[in-house]
């Protein structure tokens, strides 16, 4: 559905985007992760046709953005970062403008579409208020409403939950998820929990290049503590336990750190039942046994620093 081929964007001597390649298909929710200034927004702006790439191509539905920008823009719903909208208009006036530009000429279909997105984004209570008087959460929802007004097959959202409170974040994620089934959704974020909660695929961009492109689960497996165990003992020496465990075929390594033993599995497999069994057989009394919680943060940190 979307193909990005060796996309480059140069600003003077700075390579903002430096050879980005990927493909996204319907049903995928792709999360763009990366430090600030990594080129996420620039890449998105090139997909939407707002910025011209220095080189490379973007195909949406096999249509080249640079050759037929208008037909691509018809297929895309885009929510720019921090949702810039015409503040002096009311929500209703603004959405009417968007509907007219999107080609809903007939008054009833226009009304229907506006009603639909106002219901979806819970904007009914502020429909006749001018946008600049709205709170950040509402403004963000107006930005989202205009992006989905024409029910586009492609949805590109630049930090859709930025600046929202936890409840609003949850709500926006719910809406995105409910819409995603038959669409391509690309969203950028720097909130890692959002990626695990929402995305089916993650692309990490740093210094203008793709450095990881996989599912959130497999990204999590890159964490060196994935499925690793931490043990403390009461009566036996940790060294004995270490010797007993480190030669198991499923165990890759065992290390003693700060009075506890860390056991790393081979191939990221789960080893807790096995280790417990070995401990019981040897009558080692274990006082503490835990699977270390792993997060994307560490993976992200390792990949981008």
């Amino acid at each position: 559905m979307i193909e990005v081929q060796s996309l480059h964007k140069q600003y003077g001597s700075i390579n903002a985007v430096n050879g980005v390649n990927f493909e996204v298909n319907r049903g995928e929710i792709l999360g763009f992760l990366g430090p600030n200034g990594a080129g996420k927004s620039t890449t998105m702006k090139m997909i939407t046709g707002f910025i011209r790439p220095t080189s490379g191509t973007v195909l949406v539905d096999n249509i080249d953005v640079q050759k037929h920008p208008v037909s691509v823009k018809e297929r895309i719903g885009y929510m720019p970062e921090s949702g810039p909208v015409y503040g002096e208009m009311t929500v209703e006036e603004f959405l009417t403008f968007i509907a007219e530009v999107r080609g809903f000429d007939d008054a009833t279909t226009k009304e229907d579409q506006i009603d639909r997105v106002c219901d979806l984004c819970r904007l009914n209570s502020v429909r006749h208020q001018s946008i600049e008087t709205l709170s950040k959460g509402y403004k963000q929802r107006v930005g989202f409403a205009q992006a989905v007004l024409h029910d586009p097959p492609v949805l590109i959202l630049d930090e859709p939950t930025d600046g929202l409170d936890p409840n609003q974040k949850k709500e926006v994620r719910k809406i995105i998820k409910s819409m995603a089934k038959d669409k391509v959704v690309i969203l950028s974020t720097h909130i890692l929990e959002e990626v695990s909660a929402l995305c089916t695929r993650v692309i990490i961009i740093a210094k203008g290049q793709v450095i990881a492109d996989e599912s959130p689960e497999s990204l999590l497996q890159r964490n060196k503590y994935f499925n690793a165990l931490k043990l403390e003992t009461e009566d036996v020496d940790l060294e004995t336990v270490k010797q007993g465990l480190k030669d198991l075929p499923e165990v890759a390594a065992a290390e003693i750190n700060d009075g506890s033993l860390e056991v790393f599995p081979k191939n990221k497999q789960s080893i807790e039942t096995l280790v417990l069994k070995v401990c019981r057989e040897n009558n080692w009394h274990i006082s503490k046994f835990e699977k270390r919680p792993v997060s994307l943060d560490e993976v992200f940190w390792e990949l981008t620093t």
């Binding site: 939407t48 720019p80 810039p84 015409y86 530009v101 080609g103």
Partner: protein, 239 residues
């Protein structure tokens, strides 16, 4: 080209969504009639015509139209809404023309709101309506050219003040070139050159209209100046 309409509509009503439009209209009407009566010595001329009104127009436009036009693109760039606009299925030229026409329509309505002057001259004497009609026509055309220049300077920057200053300089230059006081200063140049230069002036081409003449080359001047400025606007925005 059908996308011009929604852009036009949004922009035109946009003027009236803020108090700026009303302030502008009031000040414009006060200044243009005030200058007609005081600086233009409307009564002293003892002639029932709008000559003194039209003579002031290019000077007033230099400042007033630059003030209207400065926000055309600079404001969109500053607030980021042009990102929204140019990710909608709109061609750059459609957006440029739509916004330009909206501004032009707004200014034209300001010009037409000077209609009480018509009653004044009609009441005071028996004016020749021909030159008044063509004068208004020329005035609106000329306003269009002023605004097109502003559209271009506004596209160059996201700072409205910079846009205002540049457009005042350009427009003032184009007014000066046809002003006798200024052309007299150019006495050291051959007369042909001075004539050629004054051909680039608003005033030179506007004079015909105020005398009741619609001359083809004057029409061409205003329309082509507008077209070129708008084309430059499109080129700047297409980056």
């Amino acid at each position: 080209m059908k996308q011009i309409l929604p852009v036009f509509r949004r922009e035109f009503y946009g003027y009236f969504r803020s108090p700026v439009a009303y302030v502008f209209l009031v000040v414009f009407l006060v200044v243009s009639s005030g200058l007609t009566f005081y600086l233009g010595r409307f009564f002293d001329s003892r002639v029932a015509s709008l000559d003194s009104f039209f003579t002031m127009q290019p000077w007033i436009y230099t400042f007033f139209i630059s003030a209207v036009g400065m926000r055309l693109w600079a404001e969109e760039k500053r607030s980021g809404t042009w990102e929204l606009l140019f990710t909608l299925p709109i061609r750059v030229k459609e957006a440029v023309i739509g916004k330009y026409l909206a501004g032009w329509a707004f200014i034209a309505s300001g010009i037409l709101l000077t209609f009480p002057l018509l009653f004044t001259v009609g009441y005071l004497g028996d004016p020749d309506w021909g030159p008044i009609f063509t004068g208004y026509l020329g005035s609106i055309l000329m306003a269009g050219s002023f605004l097109a220049v502003c559209s271009f300077t506004s596209a160059l920057t996201q700072n409205q003040v910079i846009s205002f200053v540049i457009s005042v300089v350009i427009n003032l230059g184009l007014v000066f070139l046809g002003w006798s006081v200024f052309t007299n200063l150019l006495g050291f140049l051959p007369l042909v050159w001075v004539d050629a230069l004054s051909n680039f002036s608003y005033t030179t081409h506007f004079n015909g209209f105020t005398r009741g003449l619609i001359v083809f080359k004057d029409l061409v001047f205003f329309l082509s100046l507008s077209a070129i400025s708008l084309l430059l606007t499109v080129l700047v925005l297409e980056r």
